[in-house]
């Protein structure tokens, strides 16, 4: 979770459009000319002409080593965007650079090489090959690289152990549970040790409990490997939990890009606010985003030892611990007991 803000971007998208329909390129050019390049009006014009502008004029950079989450409801264009970046579908207009290289200009051979060496992808419905064993599934990208049988099996088993599936290598996909299947998907995407890691709603098809488990494991793997990851989700809590930065999409447009704290505390519009409304802010926002540095410093007799990266809930609990226990009154007007403010705060931050 440590992004170095000054590194060169791993992925850079500039004015990316993805339009579906007849003759998308031509129609987009014409519409852009007619509207003088205004993206919003262009999109409306395209819709009127029966085309679907799934991604509209999207611009952002993904930094080296960060987890960049693209979040939005279904139909917001997030899956289309990640497929445009990985060029599973051809973009209509704009520029996407991966490690400085113009990906739209890459020919088939170069694209193949990129996919074999630099990119890994995890799919919502796993995309496992039913006719192969687990280990063959994981070794498939290595096979495509042309690696010999023995080393590729060894590497695949190594990755399987990383995702906690050691010993199951000769099972078939249908013999595994959903969570285990996605572990295989993750292992496969990491087999070639890619620089860029694309995850398309990897945990959306799983039960909530398994989902949480895999999120934690994703974080621990990511802490070890430090990949540059583009992660798609429709779940705001998932986004807040794993993201270094979040891009929120609606109707093909990126409406806000920011750190989880930014998104929670300073939503740009009602749409984003609506998303974060049910999020317990205290659990996701951090002290450093709301602290100030007054000059001169006021008198501060108490010091609960707050850290800048503490969540607001934790900080509150720490502050509360400074207070003495207080009485609690029963319905009959008699004192029923005592409670310590510290215990109250601790009860609130029960699970994180």
């Amino acid at each position: 979770m440590t992004a170095t803000p000054n590194a060169a971007p791993a992925i850079s998208c500039k004015g990316v459009w993805q339009v579906f329909g007849v003759n998308p390129k031509k129609n987009l050019d014409r519409a852009l000319q007619e509207t003088g390049g205004d993206p919003h009006e262009t999109a409306q014009l395209l819709r009127r002409r029966g085309l679907i502008p799934a991604v509209q004029d999207v611009t952002f950079d993904v930094r080296e080593g960060e987890v960049f989450v693209i979040m939005g409801l279904s139909g917001s264009g997030k899956s289309t965007l990640i497929r445009t970046i990985s060029r599973l579908i051809e973009g209509t207009a704009g520029e996407i650079r991966i490690g400085g290289e113009d990906i739209f200009a890459a020919d088939a051979r170069r694209l193949l090489a990129l996919r074999r060496d630099k990119l890994g992808m995890v799919f919502q419905h796993f995309g496992l090959f039913p006719h192969m064993t687990i280990v063959d599934n994981v070794a498939f990208p290595l096979k495509m690289q042309g690696m010999a049988t023995a080393p590729r099996r060894a590497r695949a088993i190594e990755v399987l152990e990383l995702v906690g599936l050691g010993g199951r290598e000769d099972a078939r996909p249908h013999q595994l549970s959903g969570g285990q299947r996605q572990r295989v998907g993750i292992a496969r995407s990491l087999a070639v040790n890619p620089d860029l890691w694309f995850l398309d709603e990897p945990f959306s098809a799983l039960d909530p409990l398994i989902r949480r488990q895999l999120q934690d494991e994703f974080l621990s793997i990511q802490a070890d490997l430090g990949k540059t990851a583009v992660f798609i989700t429709h779940d705001i809590t998932e986004a807040l939990k794993i993201a270094d930065r979040i891009a929120i999409m609606r109707g093909g447009v990126v409406v806000q890009i920011g750190t989880p704290d930014d998104i929670i505390l300073n939503p740009v519009d009602d749409y984003v606010r609506e998303f974060t409304r049910d999020v317990p802010k205290g659990r996701h926002a951090h002290v450093e985003t709301i602290m100030t540095r007054p000059d001169p410093l006021p008198e501060m007799p108490d010091d609960p030892k707050l850290g800048a990266d503490m969540t607001i809930d934790s900080a509150l609990a720490a502050c509360m611990s400074l207070y003495q226990p207080v009485p609690v009154w029963g319905r009959d007007g008699q004192m029923a007991g005592v409670v310590s403010p510290r215990d109250l705060a601790a009860a609130l931050k029960a699970e994180t």
Binding site: D117, M121, L128, P130, H131, M144, R172, Q175, R188, F198
Partner: protein, 679 residues
């Protein structure tokens, strides 16, 4: 690696050993190759006696039923022929508009117009009258069977088995016992076609009912419907689409069988017209008559197929206008209308076609003959009687001899050794088996080898039960004394299936890769599947005369379609996420095809192969008309001689062969699906 001790490898190795043993001991024990006549059960006579006794007992009743049936049949025939043709054409055109708009109406008009000017209007109407009576019978019988099977789950399995058998028993085999029972006459064709056409509707009714959403069924029950209300008000209407699919298949089957029944003769229908003109080598006229059949088939298929689709509502007013116009025109022209059988505008055309065909044969006869002869010498003969008999100075220019044999097996052994060394033991064993079969010829295979091989296949595909099933059915054929024609059937259908698998597989593959190709192939497949089997004989006969090669061509052109369709379908239906996963793993087009699409499609392709095998078997019997020597020919002969024992026994043998092949391939398909976790 794991292949080394797989069941397939073990089964192949044992089969090879049995084959070797048979070949080694054959000179000492000739009964290994030829089943001794002394041990043959005179099954054909027994069956003949039983069936004849049964038929005699049932005859009075059956004949009464036949007489009862001949009423509506005669009436329908009379009505269809006596109805002035403009009225018929107009009414069907109106129906075409109602079901499919102006395109369908135009199709009907053009099609029936051709029938009219072809001079085959009257025979055509006779055929349709038979269909018109047999279809309701089939629908009633099949529909009731389907509902009973649905309502009484205990009966479901036996009914499924019965339907399987009914659909694998070759068409001609129905005819002989019916002839005995009912005597000569069109009623035989009628009943045969009703029996033959009942299974599709039974199957589809059952399937449709089984597929009704449980929610709907439970909602009906909770709303207070009793079981019969539930069935008729809720379940049957919900299943209607599937049922209409069944209706379409039933009508097509009835038409096909009515035309085949023409071989009994004595009834002036369109099938008889084809048969007669074919026998006279008047191919111009057989083509025209065949075309009439194709037109009927296509119109009936498209019209009844529309019933199973959601279709736009076409204005009823126009339907009425067409009908009114028709009636008016008919009334005005009634006096001046020529009799329908007096119209024949194509006489000149057929003469010209015959002349052209004559010139073509004169010019390219040697080429056609060369094709035929080469196919016989280099493909059919070796498969049939093996290299050691097929390779003679007359055919290949030299005599097959012991040293050649030795060299041949040495090469095979070397190849096998190389494959084995590469770790592909199963492939090596299969290669050796194939070499042995080619050397001996399918019809000279020792019976223990065939039985053991079938058992081994069954064991690999479905365990002990399937192995026993295959061995027992084949043993029955052996003991009945029909082994030789059965092997001939196996050889002919096997060759056809092999060709279909290669050619159809390739076309299917190309169609999957190129949508443009599929746009061309698809309508051809549609057409080939609509044409009744009988019609395939005409063009083959025109160019290659009577003989095994013509039979093979006819079988292939009929049986190749499922292979094409299923191969393509299997290849294009790979789930999108798997395709994307493979591409993002760096698979190129080739790797995507061989590593992901093909393995995923394997079970579907196997089902296509299964269909192709069944198609080939059913065509085998029809091909008997143009010169084969197998079981189909026995059935056909029995029909001519009224030998009911031989007819039933040979028909049963044929059905058993088909059932064994069907179960084996389905077993492999199921295994493959299970390995993919699809079932």
């Amino acid at each position: 690696m794991t292949d080394r001790f797989s069941p397939g490898t073990r089964a192949a190795a044992l089969t090879l050993l049995v084959g070797l043993a048979c070949v080694i001991f054959a000179p000492l024990a000739p009964w290994l190759v030829k089943w001794p006549a002394a041990l043959t059960v005179p099954a054909t006579e027994w069956i003949g006696a039983v069936v004849t006794w049964l038929a005699d007992a049932l005859k009075p009743l059956a004949r009464m039923g036949a007489r009862a049936l001949s009423w509506p049949m005669d009436w329908a025939g009379w009505a269809l022929i006596q109805t002035p043709f403009p009225l018929t054409i107009g009414a069907v055109t109106a129906l075409g508009w109602h079901l499919g708009g102006w395109r369908m109406a135009a199709g009907v008009l053009a099609g029936l117009g051709f029938v009219l000017i072809s001079g085959y209007w009257a025979p055509g109407m006779t055929t349709l009258s038979l269909v018109a009576v047999s279809v309701p019978l089939a629908l009633l019988a099949g529909g009731v069977t389907g509902i009973v099977a649905y309502k009484l789950p205990a009966l479901r399995r036996p009914i499924h088995v019965l339907l399987d058998v009914m659909q694998t028993v070759p068409t001609f085999a129905y005819l002989t016992p019916l002839l005995l029972l009912l005597g000569f006459g069109p009623v035989v064709g009628l009943i045969a076609s009703a029996i033959y056409a009942a299974p599709p509707i039974a199957r589809n009714v059952l399937l449709g009912l089984e597929r009704v959403d449980p929610d709907i069924r439970e909602a009906a029950a909770m709303n207070g419907a009793n079981p019969w209300q539930q069935l008729f008000l809720i379940e049957l209407p919900t299943a209607s689409r599937q049922i209409w699919v069944g209706v379409n298949q039933t009508i097509m089957a009835a038409l096909s069988m009515v035309i085949i029944a023409a071989v009994i003769g004595g009834f002036d229908d369109i099938g008889w017209a084809v048969l007669l003109t074919m026998r006279k080598a008047d191919f111009g006229n057989s083509l025209v008559a065949g075309l009439v059949i194709v037109i009927f088939a296509m119109l009936i298929d498209r019209l009844s197929g529309k019933l199973a689709e959601t279709r736009p509502v076409y204005s009823a007013r126009i339907t009425w206008v067409i009908l009114a116009l028709t009636v008016i025109c008919t009334l005005i022209a009634a006096r001046h209308l020529p009799a329908s059988n007096a119209i024949n505008l194509l006489g000149g055309v057929t003469d010209w076609m015959n002349a052209t065909l004559g010139r073509f044969i004169a010019a390219y006869g040697p080429l056609l003959n060369a094709i035929k002869t080469n196919a016989m010498i280099y493909l059919l003969l070796p498969l049939r009687i093996g290299f050691d008999h097929a390779v003679t100075p007359m055919t290949w220019g030299f005599q097959w001899s012991a040293p050649i044999s030795a060299a041949y097996f040495a090469v095979a052994a070397l190849l096998a050794a190389w494959l084995g060394w590469r770790g592909r033991l199963l492939a090596a064993l299969v290669l050796l088996l194939a070499a042995g079969v080619l050397k001996l010829g399918i019809t000279h295979l020792p019976w223990p080898f065939v039985l053991f091989g079938a058992g081994a296949l069954g064991w690999v595909a479905g365990g002990r039960g399937l192995a026993a099933y295959a061995v027992i059915l084949l043993a029955i054929i052996l003991v009945m004394g029909l082994w030789e024609p059965a092997l001939l059937s196996l050889y002919l259908s096997g060759t056809a299936v092999l060709i279909c698998a290669v050619v159809g597989g390739l076309i299917g593959l190309l169609s999957a890769l190129s949508p443009a190709m599929w746009r061309v192939v698809r309508p051809i497949c549609d057409l080939l599947q609509t044409i009744p089997m009988f019609v395939f004989l005409i063009p083959v006969l025109m160019f290659f005369q009577i003989g095994e090669f013509s039979a093979l061509l006819a079988i292939c052109s009929y049986a190749v379609v499922p292979m094409i369709r299923y191969t393509r379908q299997g290849l294009v239906s790979t789930p999108e996420d798997q395709v994307e996963a493979a591409i993002s793993s760096g698979a190129n087009r080739r790797a995507l095809l061989t590593e992901v699409r093909l393995p995923y499609a394997a079970p579907v392709i196997l089902l296509g192969l299964n269909q192709t095998i069944l198609y080939a078997f059913s065509m085998l019997v029809i091909a008997a008309l143009i010169g084969t020597t197998d079981l189909g020919q026995q059935i056909y002969l029995a029909l001519g001689q009224g030998d009911v024992g031989l007819g039933v026994a040979a028909g049963a043998a044929m059905a058993m062969l088909a059932l064994v092949a069907d179960r084996l391939v389905q077993g492999f398909a199921r295994k493959q699906s299970e390995a993919l976790g699809l079932e």
